[in-house]
Every structure is written in C-alpha cells, then in structure tokens.
Symmetry: C5
Subunit: 303 residues, 5 copies
C-alpha cells in the first residue's frame, strides 16, 4: 500500500517513461515527415482527435473504475481474513468444554489453533506474492504440522486441513459438541472461501485483450493528435503532445497498479502488515506477554 506521505515522484513516472519516449519518437517522425513531405500529408481536423480522445478517456475512466473495484475486492478479502481469524479463536476459546479437557489441555489446543491461524495468514500472503511461505510457517507450527504442510503444494489449504483435523479430534473427545463442531466448520468454510477468492484475483489476469486495446487506442489517439497539431503548432507540438501523453499513460498505469494487488510490489495490498495485526490480536486474546508491534514503514509504502 502506498502511503500518503513521502511518495516519490520517480516511482510514479519511471514506469511510463518507455511509452513517453516512444511517443516522442513518433511525434518527431511526424515533424520530419511534415518538414520533407508537408504538402502530401492530410490535414486532420482537430475534432477527429477530440472524438478519439473522448472515446479513449471514457474507456480509461471505466478501466480505472474496474481496476479500483478489483483492488477494493482484494482489500475486502483480506478484511475477511482478519475477521474470520479473530472469530475462529473467539469461538474455540468459548466452545471448549471444561469437563472434557484439563485447563492446560484446553489452553494448548487454543494456542495451537491460534498459532496455526497466524501462520495461515502469513503463508497465504506469501503464496499470493510468490514467496516461499515455509520460514513463516516454521515460526508458528508444531513439528508434525510443519511436516504435513511441507508435503503439500497448497500450504494454506494444508493448514485448513490441519485445523479441520484438530476440530475433528476435539469433537471425538467431546471437547466440542456437535453443534459447536458445525459452527466451527462454518468458520472454516468461510476461511476456505476467502482463500479461494484471493487466489482467484491473483490467478485471473485482467483480460489481456482489453488491456492491449486500451494501450493501442492511446497510441492511436496520440498519433492522430500529433498529425493534427503538427500543422498548427509547429515544433511546440512535441512538448504539448508529451504532456497529453503523460496524462493518458499515467491514468493507464494507475489502473494497472490497482489491477494486481498481490504482486509483491509497493502498490500491493499490505498483506504482511495485516497478518501482523492478526498476530497481535490473536496473541492478545491468548493473553500472551510479548506481543509484537504493528508493522510500520520508513519508506513510501507498507507491505
């Protein structure tokens, strides 16, 4: 997540530089064409560029809006991660039957679920970003759990399977009754859904033909505009065109950043910071003494 303060200008512009340079090249070529073959070139009325411009502006505005929706959906999914993590621990904490478990056993079970849930958050974030989740898992899982997760390809799913195994055992020991098991299972269903939703956003690229179309239309519009300005503005056309190009490419680039919220980039949804918050909340619910501090950032973004 980009922070409101300290956002460096170079970060915003560096990605659109190649496009700007290409547009500069095009506009210089048109200048040369005009210089050498001026009277063979068509006189393109500026209104044509206006038509194309309003058409591509609309498409871009909708594109930004769709990208924003994707970004917000990604953030909502991680909001659900937080909510159901807290819910799961609150539920286990309030469901365990005292007659079936000693206080220590109950506390161990609760701790195991809470730590595994923290591990689930970190590992889901790391899987989405294409990082190796095993180091985070090692911090929070027991040996056998770690071995099981290691053997499975989809680590967050493996942790849900371990949750469900533990709840099964608690039920068989009558430490949770049948209704409580089903209620806990409903929480697991939601976690499984949330995980799938995050994977869906990650694995479904924004329609490639749509992306290409927008990019192609910006060039088409800038080319037309260049041709119709070259006549009336002379060499001033080059800086003016670059300014307009900057506008449109910046909008397009902003849309792109929003489209991919789990890309291991500064514009990501801050999944590590969110997982840290879950860790803090759950450890406080366990009444543990040393709770980590929230993740802060001394740069212009928060991961």
């Amino acid at each position: 997540m980009l922070l409101d303060v300290k956002l460096p200008v170079y970060y915003i512009f560096k990605r659109i530089l190649p496009d700007i340079l290409r547009v500069m090249l095009i506009s210089i070529i048109f200048q040369l064409l005009k210089y050498f073959f001026g009277h063979y070139l068509p006189l393109i009325p500026l209104q044509l560029a206006t038509i194309l411009g309003s058409s591509i502006s609309l498409l871009l505005a909708f594109n930004v809006s769709q990208s924003y929706d994707r970004w917000w959906e990604g953030r909502k999914i991680w909001g659900a991660v937080v909510n159901d993590s807290r819910t799961l621990v609150l539920q286990v904490r309030s469901f365990l039957q005292p007659e079936a478990l000693s206080a220590r056993e109950a506390s161990e079970h609760l701790t195991a679920v809470a730590y595994r849930q923290i591990a689930w958050c970190y590992s889901l974030g790391e899987s989405l970003r294409g990082q190796d989740p095993m180091p985070s898992l090692a911090k929070f899982l027991s040996e056998p759990d770690l071995a099981y997760a290691q053997a499975q390809k989809n680590r967050p799913l493996a942790l849900l399977a371990l949750h469900s195994t533990q709840i099964r055992e608690l039920h068989l020991k009558q430490a949770v009754n049948t209704f409580q098991q089903v209620q806990l299972d409903s929480t697991l269903v939601r976690l499984c859904e949330t995980m799938g939703q995050a994977e869906r956003i990650k694995s479904t690229v924004f329609p490639a033909n749509y992306r290409l179309l927008v990019h192609f239309l910006i060039y088409l519009f800038l080319g037309t505009l260049s041709l119709s300005l070259v006549e009336s503005m002379g060499f001033w056309e080059v800086p003016v065109l670059l300014l307009i190009a900057t506008t449109f490419f910046l909008i397009e680039r902003t849309a792109r950043y929003l489209q991919d919220p789990f890309n291991n980039a500064p514009t990501d949804t801050p999944v590590t910071a969110i997982s840290r918050n879950v860790e803090i909340n759950l450890k406080q619910l366990l009444e543990e003494p040393n709770v980590p501090a929230p993740l802060t950032s001394d740069t212009f973004y928060l991961m």
Copy 2:
C-alpha cells in the same frame, strides 16, 4: 483465458475484418457520390458526427463495462466451484465417525466423494462448452455412478444427486450425524447454486436488441463521419475513417468476447485449468501419490 504473453495480433483483428471491409466500401461509395454528384450532397457539419460519436462512445463504454461484469461474474462462479469442492472434501474428511466405519471404508467413501467432485468440475465445464462430458466422467466415476449419469440429461446435476444419495447412506449408517448431514447438505446447496449460476450465464445471451443497437449505431456514426469528412479531406478520408472504424469495432469486439465466457473459445474462463487445480488440491488432500501437474499452455491462451 488469453495470456499476457504471445497474444497474436491476427487473433484480435480477424473478427473485425468483415466490418472494416464494409466500412471501406461505404466510404468508397461516398467518395464516388461526391465525385459525381458533389454539389447535390449535404454539407454535414463535423459537430454532428461528434454528437453521435460521444453518444456511441458512452454506450460502448457502458457495454464494455457490463460485459466485463459478466466475465468477472463467470470467473467468480468458477472460484466458488473451487472453494466448495475443497470445502466438501474437508468436511467429509473431518465428519466421518470412526465408530461407524472402518478406516478402509471411511477412506473409500472419502475417495468416492472427492473423485466424483473432480468429475463434477470437469463435466460442468464441458457441459457449459457444449462438449461431451462422458469421457471425463469415465476417468473418475465408479461403474454404477457412470451408468446413472449416462441416463440423465443434466450430468452435473446427476452427480449432485449421487453425492446426496451417498450422504444419505452415510447418515443412515450413522457415519455422519444429523447436524453434519445438514452441514454437508448446505455445501451441496451451494454447489447446486453455483452450477445454476454458470448455466444462467451460458443460456442467457446478452440482450440481442442491445447488441444490435450498438452495432447499428457504430455504422450510423461512421456513415455520418464519412459524409462530413469527404468534403474536407478528399481521398485521405478513406484511411482515416478506417482507423476510426477499427477503434470502435475493436471496442465492440472486446465487449463481445467478454460477454460469453463459456464459448469454447480462447477468451473463455479457463474452466479446464481450474478443474485441473481442483483435481490437484483434492488428490493432495487424499494424500494420493501421483498428482497431475497444473495445466500449462504453449500457445496464447489457457483453456
């Protein structure tokens, strides 16, 4: 799903070629009319074309947006397929009561549900694409299940009926208790809903009159534009008009591709790849030794 890499230009342009040719014909006819009957033709102000142009641009932009929503809804539905497939297997795995079934029976039941669920995913995708689902079913179903599915017209619904029969049997044997049966039934309810949602998108064509309207308006706009440019630009009008026509038809075509996500075309939702992922996940949950690799693509799309 089109992939970001290797997307060939011919694929994008081939479908709009007939429209472009038709527009070329129209613009040549206007050239000839102007040549022979020039002073009888009206002088259409370019601003009229601007009005029509902004009107059709708006309609197109909304159309793309509605089509994008349809596409994303299709993708979400298949996300729910993944989530509930995993959930179903996690639930059966954690619900089976050890006192009612031997370990082997439990494992057989779990495997039957998981394999049938994999079959359900593949067959749902194939039904949506109008392909024959029986070959996929044969790989994952037992003999009697296969015979039952063969006899029914709606194969994915038949598989849900088989799931529900098996859960009924498990309940009668007391291998799942009543609450668990109801919880499993809730998962089946969601699967039934998901299936119906996918069928709905497949069977409901985008409103035909709306589609036609957009197509007709593009032609109307291009005709008006042609008439108003023919005077001022002479023969340069033809290539310029074709460029503008390309813009508008490309946008329309992109919207069309997004409208039909289960069309057995490269722009489809990648239902086969998704089903393969479900297969991988479920087989790993069964701890099976030979799990297939994810579907990859050496062309420009993933099915």
Copy 3:
C-alpha cells in the same frame, strides 16, 4: 428473450415510429418558420446542441445501464428459482427416513413435492405476466391442493403454504427429523424470497418522473438541434435530424424493453422456457420415463 437469429427489423423500429413522425413534424414546422420568418429566428450555435446532446447522451447511457441491471436482476431471480427447485427435490429425496415411510409412501411424497414445485414455477411465471395460472396448476396438483390454491389470491404463495404443510406432516410422522425440517424450511425461505423479488420487479415501475424526463430531454435536444441546423443545412436538415432522432429513440426504447422483464412480450425473461427446464430436471430426478423436450422457438423470441 430475443434470440440472436431471425430478429426482424420491423420489431425494433415499430415502437419508435410515432416519435420519429413527431420529430419529422417538428422539423418541418421549423423549416416553414425559417422560410416565412427567417430573419426573426435566433441563430442557435451548434455548440448549444452539443452541450444538450452530451447531457442527454449521458443520462441515456446511465438509463440503459440501470435498465440492464434490472433485466439481469430479473434473470438472476429466475436463476434462483431453478437452483432452489432442484435443491428442494434433492433435499426431500435424501432426507426421508426409511423407517418412517414405506418406499411407496416416500416416492409419493417426493413426487408430490416435485410436481408442486414444477407447478410453482409455471404459476409464478404466469402470475408475473398477468396470465391465469390455474390451467398449469391443474396439470401438476392433486385435487385438494388445487382447491386450496384456487381459493387463494396469490397462487404461488399458496403452493409454498402447501409445501410447508406437507413438510410439517412429514416431521410429525418423523419422516424427517427436526434438523432436516429446519433445513427444508430454509429452502422454503429462499423460495419465498425469490418469489417476492420477482413480484417486486414486476410491481415497481421504473420511476415515472425519470422516464418522462429522459423522453422530454430527447425532444428538447432534437428541437434545439433542428433550429441550429435549419440555417446551415437547409432541407437536408430533415433527413439528418430523423437519423439522429432514430439513434436516441432507439436507445431509449432499448432501455424500456430491458426495464420490464415480465411483461408478456418477446423481450421478457423466458420464464416459460425456464420452468420447462425445471420440469425436465425434476422429472429426471424422479426417474420418470416421459420427460418433455426443452422449449424451442421457431420465431425470433423465446418465452
């Protein structure tokens, strides 16, 4: 539902004919005014018409979008009809306890529920379209059920009441246990909701002042445009204005068609065809021998 093939042009144009004729009259009156009082008339700059044109275009585009959402909501509601009809039958089929009912009794109960559910679908569609649902009911209901439905004003609600009575009886006979009764009741809750949603769309006309506003603004825009074109284009103004008018009235008409999806018109949601599909699915689940064919159409629409 209009089909993609065979859509006749007259169907699209016939409804906007009166508006087009009115616009023709207006533009001829302006021609005459100009002819007789030319130098008293104001010179309206074409840009004024552009401002109005872009304003009304925006409103129309949003209007089409809202209408499309209504249409899609209507279609989604009927998707839920399909899903919950299948779910209800799958649930009854898997819940009936063998120790409480003989196989024949169980089958009779299941058949009664399934046939009543088919009747519910047909009668809901017919009520929405203002048709008499009794003939369809007669085909699927028992004598006493038919008499009860006959006596009630809201027939689909009467059928839900009969469903709920039958489930109550099954529960009192212990043919379904309490949890299963509640789970079946949840399905009835959803059916009741779906029915109410369809009635809501039917009974809530699109805001009449909004509709009128859009209609009035199109005329205002065309009048302004006519006045500003009459000077520059002479008699060519009439055909050009009609073309523009056609554009805007066609868009408005398309929006109107989408607003009312249960109007007993070719642009309706195909509720009869959907009900037929439910009939096919449910009869196949009952393993009945003679299942009807899906509804097809030899005209340009499917009801």
Copy 4:
C-alpha cells in the same frame, strides 16, 4: 410511487420554478450589463461553457445514478419486509407442535403473530414517514401489546420484542422445539436488519456538501453560458438559457426525489400499499373470510 398514467406536468415543474426565476434574473442582469458596459465585458469563448457543461453533466448523471441506487435499495428493503413477513407466518404455521397446544390455542398464537406482523409493517412505514403509528397499531394489537408499544419510543422495535417474547413462551411450553425457535429467531434477525436498513436510509441525508456542490455548479455553468451567449445571440439568449436551465434543474430535481424514498411525498416508496399487500397475504394464509382489497389510487401516485 408516481404512476405511469396521469402524471401532471405542474407537479414536475413546480419545484424547479424558483431556480428558473433566479436564472432568468441572472440572465437579464447580464443583458443589462452588456447593454450599458458592453465593451468592458470579457468575451468568454463558448468552449469554456462546454467544458463546464460536460463536467456538470457528468456529475449530474452520476448523481442521478446514486440517487436511483438509493431509491432501489429502499424498494428492496420493503421487498424484504414482504418476504420475511410471509416467511414468519408460514414458519409459525408449520412449526407449532400439536401435542403441546390445542387447535384453538395454536390458531390464536398464529393469529397474534400474523396480526402483530401486519401492525409492524404499517407502523414501520408510518414511523419512516414521521406519522403517528399508534392508530394502525390499535387495529391489530391486543391490549397489553398496545400498552407495551405505547410505552416505547421505537414502536417497530417494540413489536419485534413482543414477537420474541411470544416465541420464547411457545418454546417454554414446548410448542416449538429448540431448532424451530432458533429458525424463527433467524427470521426475527432478518426483520430487525430490514428495519434498521430502512431507518438508515431515512436518517442519512444524502451528503449535504455534495448536494450543494451540484447545485452551485449548475449556477456557475449557467452564468458562464449566459455571459458567452449574450454577445452572440442578443435577447434570444434569455429563452435559450431558460431552456437549458430547465434541463439541468429538472435532472437535479429528479435525483432529489429519488434520494428520499420515505418522505411522505408522492415520490415515496409506496409503503402503505405494500403493507396492505402483506395484510392481504397474511389474512389469506390465516384463511380469514374478509380480506381487504389492494390499495388503489385515483390520483397520479400511490402511497
């Protein structure tokens, strides 16, 4: 709810009259300024007004769209009122255990719930409209219920509390079992939610700064337009400006009407008519002999 027929023109225009008069004043002032200080005034290019015009058109179109969403949300909430009212009565009707209650007691309980639910609908509508709900309550509630509701500030909430007390009593008498109590409670949860949603729309005015902004921008745009037309059109500028002003104020006013659906105005959601429909449906489910007729209207709106 405005009806499609008989909508009087004066109703639509009366509210925008003050704004129109103010605009007339402004434009006359500009005429005088021009007449006396003509050569000191700036020549504002019409394109500036176009830029402002398209900006305010966009804002207005989005505003109408957000207002429409609010209106539709209000209508959906009242759709949920209908659905859950029917559901509640269907549930009580099918849940009451014959062994715990005599047929007469059962019928009395059912009638009490149904009548209280009817009262809830009417009183919710009247509270939203700022009317006194007590007269409606008196028609449907028993003495003690009426006294309790009288003593509470939020009457619909008081009725839900009475529902919940009655269900508690039925449960203590074992006339509904525990699962059924929880299922009935779920219906109460939904009713409580629906009530809160309606109150939310009522109590949350559309953001006042946003409303003001739109109003201010329309004046700004009309002023700019007036200044730029005064030069080119002379005294014709006044009627032309009024026409444009009418357009924009009508759109704004339509948005305002849609924003407040519970305002005791003809543009309201027809909550009384909807409550009457609930009364009809519930009395028919009770098989009562004298069921009232649906509310009709002999004016241009339905309350």
Copy 5:
C-alpha cells in the same frame, strides 16, 4: 454528518483556498510570460484543453462515485452495528432459560450484555476516530471487564471476547442451550465482521497514487487552459480561470471528504449519534426508567 441546514460557506471553501491561490499564481506567471515573451509562446488551441478537461472530468466523476460508495459502505457498516446490537439483546432476552437462572440473575446478565454492547458501540466509534475509548467504557462496564479491556490494545475486540466468555458461562450453567449458544455466537460473528469492516475502511487510505494523479491532472488541465486563454482573453483570463479551478477543486475536495468517513471531522459518519441511538434502544428494551435523549446538534454537523 453535515446537516442540510446551516452549512457555512467558509467550511466548504477553506480547504481549497491554497490550491486556488496556487492556480492564481500560475495564471499570473503566464500573464507575465505573455507580456514579455508573447511571440515565443505557443498558441495552444482551446480544443486541447477541452480534451484534457473532459478526461479529468470523467476521472473526477468516477472518483466522486467511488468515494460516495466508500462513504455509503461506512454508513452501512454502522447500520449493521445498530441492527446486531438490537438483535443481540433481543436474543439474550428471549433465550435465557427460567429454570437455570433466577429472575434477578437473568436480568443482571441481560443488563451486563446490553451495557457492554452499548460500550462496544461507543468504543468502536472512538477507536476509529483515534480518540481514547476508556472514558466511555468506564460508564458502562463492570470493574473486572474494565480492567480486562484496559489491558488489551484493541478494546472493541476485548469487549467481544468478554461477550463470548459470558455466553460460554451461561451455556455451562445451562442458562442457554447449545443451539441458542450457537445462534448467539452467530451474532458475535457478525459483530466481529462489522468491526473488522469499519477498521478496514479506516486503515485503508484511498490509493495514494490515484489521489495524486487526480490532483496532478487538475493542475495540468488548468495550466493548459490558462495558456490557451491568455491569448484570447487577456487579463480577464485570471478570474475566469479561478472560477474553473474552483469547480474542479471543489469536486475533488468533496470526493476527499467522502473517502474518509471516520476522520473525527464534521463530514464523518455520525458514529456518536448512532451509538446514542443504540443506547436509547437497548435501555428501552431493558425497560430502564431514565433513557437519554437523542444527540442533537446546534452547529452545522452531527458527530
């Protein structure tokens, strides 16, 4: 929440003043440039500014729409706070089993839950606004509850944990049965979700690059416009540009206000007033004698 009456003009304009001054500076610099280097400056056609203007208008309109959605989502979340607070108290009130608790104990338990829930509402609002929630908590919590909440970082979560502990105790005493415990737990799940949703909106700033982009584009557009007006309008350009600038910055500012609904500012969602309403409702359900009055405002906003 800003109130419709008494909204002072200075409040709306004070925040955009720095931007307006900056624009004035820019436009004066251009005036000077023109005065001294007039014939070196490019002649920028006004249509270029139109293209940029319609592009930034679109982006702004969408931005306002996204901000409005955020604002409405924030309000919906607080609507859910109200609904589930009422639901929780209605449920506890109707679930407590008379045979397990004396009337006084039952009443004490109910009061404890209701007061803690009131405290939860206030403290959630205060946490979101960055205020210290402890003073409000002290008014409504028992000593041990207060000590527990004091020790935890996330106070609203601590209160939910206390709710869940109390429900656990009631269950262990058999004062609520298992189904009722699970139903109460479902309400806690929703409260936990609502809390997380509010925190999500608070902690997720609107994408900073998107915000910056919009701000930058407004300046770019105003610069271009200034350059193209300076030639044709002379010194009148300055006031005209400021007017246009005011328009665009006001729209941007309105969007900003809507984006952050929990900012301890007059444009906030009125969380204190809403919490007060919850307090009134819950105390009335407890039939307490002294119920506070709703929060009113003698200024232009309601907190």
